[in-house]
Symmetry: C2
Subunit: 80 residues, 2 copies
């Protein structure tokens, strides 16, 4: 079973990395980009074949390790 | 206009960061995770309101800065 966990900064949290990318794109001459925010994505292969069990494991993983829930949101998608 | 660029390692490219996460999840007692691969996600706000122009700008950004196309794949989604 495959799944994807996407971790993004909560709105209002400063993202200096995203700001740096914005600046770099401007100096490279890539036009039309107004703002950039960077996040993380985890492509996870699960041993479980049960959807509910898989979602529980992914939620535990995200809460305990993958995301800092003080400043980040996460989204779990089970793909197949 | 909002868009998301997702950058992931090509298959076959070693991902030591993903391996470390796998090990950490095991030692935290999160069961059922077979493998983890980490990627990056960029949430981009565009000035362009034209879908084709937006996609061209995003493709240029990904090719020139966001992804290392030797070892990474990227996917561009225009959300709205």
């Amino acid at each position: 079973m495959k799944a994807r966990v996407t971790v993004t900064l909560k709105s209002g949290i400063l993202d200096p990395q995203g700001k740096a990318i914005e600046g770099a794109l401007k100096s490279l001459g890539v036009d039309g980009i107004a703002s950039v925010r960077q996040g993380k994505v985890f492509d996870i292969e699960l041993a479980a074949t049960d959807q509910a069990k898989a979602e529980a494991a992914l939620k535990a993983a995200a809460d305990r390790l993958l995301a800092n829930t003080v400043i980040e949101n996460y989204r779990v998608e089970v793909l197949s």
